[in-house]
């Protein structure tokens, strides 16, 4: 640990990605709030003609938060954690420095193109893989550059043993690469037919197979963007911020390899009662339940890391964010398996309970973890204390309220919807027409919109706090050992 103080880590790329995290976070969440309110007040669809309808904005929202906000957060923390646990500075290698910057700028170009094309309605329709083939090529390039950065840094490392966080970053890199490549296999039509739009393509897989590949991707893209790199963050930042060693190495081993093996089987739970083979559905269902073990393994490992130090929850808001994040991770990973049980899924599938489940994971676990990570990094990157503890406390409660409103309203909405779809009168006829099941949801859609808005307000408070920390906060002389310094 001594030598870490002598190495001069270079955070220039980490800083760029930190700012990107905030900008894309605001954009993605703002669109999310808008489309949430569109479901309660459809007039909001007409703000900008065809470009502001729900259908155009929905992929923009999901992609902006997944590949904009979250990936930037992952990369920002990678360019921070990577150097520190491998005990090597990026400044030592001009090549890695150049690749890091290229990574950032190519990514920014990619995002810009994605935003424009999605507004135009250029999409392959596959969830979280909407981009047409020219953009896919850029994405692959960005990914390869990141991979070279990871293995380049590992290649010149001083610390020979890879820390747990590095395992998870490597897994993120490999997992997403494999999933993305196979799911986006498509034939560009212009090159075969010689006419039509040059960027159009047609999927290599048809029908049921396409669905199977898509949800193998869709579910596990979630795993390898929402889960794996976020665990990398919590394994580094929670011990660092609290000054406590990780509770159990064995538990982290079990959780890591368990997660890697089990997660990829679970995609089938998106296709229960569909036309994919029964045994695939059953496997998906069973493995989803088994998935509780490695997921809770990581979460419990984190909670027990705080053993005997629970007082920090009161004194340090960053610990509060991280512990609530781990708790939401447990919550989300018990809710998911419940929804993957066939009989529950028969009710829950296609309803609002599903977006509800996604959001307690993303807002509670992923969002909170990224916010805490960035704020832990800020004093060390900018050599200033965190601007305001009060603001951070207020943000915590506003956002937590937002999340609770979000998932509770979506539970009620989803179960109501599912029950009404299947309800029959005494003669066995359907009791409700479809529109009845839509109109009954209005209050829940409104509450959900308010919940999302609260979270966005909290995110603005975070952005302001981060900006002030960057520019105007009191300078600190020495790097803090554990708890991040913050002004009242």
């Amino acid at each position: 640990m001594q030598s870490s103080n002598m190495i001069n880590y270079d955070y220039s790329v980490a800083k760029c990605f930190a700012i990107a995290t905030i900008v894309f976070g605001i954009v993605g969440m703002a669109i999310g709030v808008l489309i949430a309110f569109q479901m309660a007040y459809p007039e909001l669809n007409y703000l900008a003609g065809e470009y502001s309808t729900f259908g155009r904005l929905r992929p923009l929202h999901t992609d902006a938060v997944i590949f904009g906000f979250i990936l930037s957060g992952v990369w920002s923390t990678w360019y921070y954690i990577g150097q520190r646990v491998l005990k090597v500075s990026m400044a030592e290698s001009p090549f890695l420095m150049f690749m890091g910057k290229l990574h950032f700028w190519l990514y920014i170009v990619g995002v810009a193109v994605v935003v424009v094309t999605l507004f135009m309605g250029i999409t392959t329709s596959k969830e979280y893989a909407e981009f047409e083939w020219p953009i896919d090529i850029v994405i692959v390039l960005i990914w390869v550059i990141w991979g070279m950065g990871i293995f380049g840094l590992i290649g010149i490392r001083r610390e020979k043993t890879l820390y747990i966080s590095i395992w998870y970053f490597i897994a993120t890199f490999l997992g997403v690469a494999m999933l993305y490549l196979f799911n986006n296999m498509a034939v560009p039509t212009y090159f075969v037919a010689g006419l039509g739009k040059w960027y159009h393509s047609v999927s290599m897989y048809a029908g049921t197979n396409d669905a199977m590949v898509q949800w193998w991707y869709g579910h596990n893209a979630v795993a390898f963007v929402f889960t794996v790199p976020i665990i990398a963050m919590v394994y580094y930042f929670l011990p660092k911020e609290s000054g406590q060693p990780v509770f159990s190495y064995k538990l982290s081993l079990l959780s890591f390899w368990g997660l890697m093996f089990v997660y990829l089987w679970a995609g089938g739970h998106h296709l229960l009662y569909s036309t994919v083979p029964d045994w695939v559905q059953t496997m998906g269902s069973i493995f989803s339940v088994v998935l509780i073990l490695p997921s809770w393994g990581s979460a419990i490992n984190m909670l027990l890391t705080m053993k005997g130090e629970w007082g920090q929850l009161k004194s340090n808001p960053l610990i509060k964010f991280m512990i609530l994040a781990s708790t939401f991770y447990m919550f989300s990973t018990i809710e998911g398996p419940i929804q993957a049980i066939k009989s529950v899924n028969a009710l829950a599938h296609f309803t609002d309970w599903i977006p509800g489940h996604v959001h307690d994971g993303t807002l509670g676990w992923v969002g909170f973890m990224i916010i805490a990570s960035l704020l832990h990094m800020a004093p060390r990157m900018f050599k200033r204390e965190i601007y305001s503890k009060k603001l951070l406390e207020a943000q915590f409660w506003i956002q937590t309220t937002g999340i609770v409103l979000y998932f509770s309203s979506m539970w009620i909405a989803g179960i109501t919807q599912g029950m009404m779809w299947r309800a029959a009168d005494q003669y066995g006829n359907l009791a409700y027409s479809f529109i009845d099941t839509v109109n009954v949801l209005h209050p829940y859609y409104t509450i959900r919109g308010v919940g999302g808005l609260l979270y966005l307000v909290g995110f603005f408070m975070f952005s302001y706090n981060f900006y002030k920390t960057m520019t105007a906060s009191k300078a600190i002389e020495e790097e803090p050992q554990s708890a991040s310094p913050m002004a009242a």
Binding site: G55, W167, T189, L195, M212, F261, Y263, G268, I435
Partner: protein, 221 residues
Amino acid sequence: MFHWLEKNPFFFAVGVFVVIAYAGVVTVLPDFMNSARPVVGTKPYTVLQLAGRHVYIKDSCNACHSQLIRPFKSETDRYGMYSLSGEYAYDRPFLWGSKRTGPDLMRVGNYRTTDWHEHHMLDPLSVVPGSIMPSYKHMFSNVADVETAYAEALTVKKVFNVPYDEKGMPKLGTYDEATKMALAEAKPIVDDMKNPEVKEAFARGEIKEIVAIIAYLNSLK
């Protein structure tokens, strides 16, 4: 072993990759050929229907509408016969969706008409009071991209042996033939519609997006 792996990044990465790749191979491959086989009577989309399908995708109709009827009485009562794997054999991409903000559309062609769709796309509230679907006025002014639809049909015919031009299957022909057929197919739809803009455009030989998407929706049975 784990300690050793943690000091050898290359083998560590290989290990991780094997462990994660395994599941995909085991779940996707065994029934791949089976799942690709069409049900008897399933036909590939005509060029006009395909152009309509592109409009459906462009506006992400699949974000709110599913095309997958599950084998429950409540679903078959509401939407018709449950889905069979082979019915999707020509769907590239599949459009099952993951959310039913609106009803399933797998067999919407059985119970909705051109006239109904025209009113519904222009002003959903006029036919479904309380609907939260936005109106899609721009489909009445944007022109459908028949050329790209033809390119796609020709591509799947060449690359995946989709049986266009075979006996009892839709005819594809050359691009000129295909545009003529698309116009002929669009004519009865335009005749059933009331919108003067769409009719005028059609008289000039232009097919608006709304015509194509109605052709597609009517084909879903």
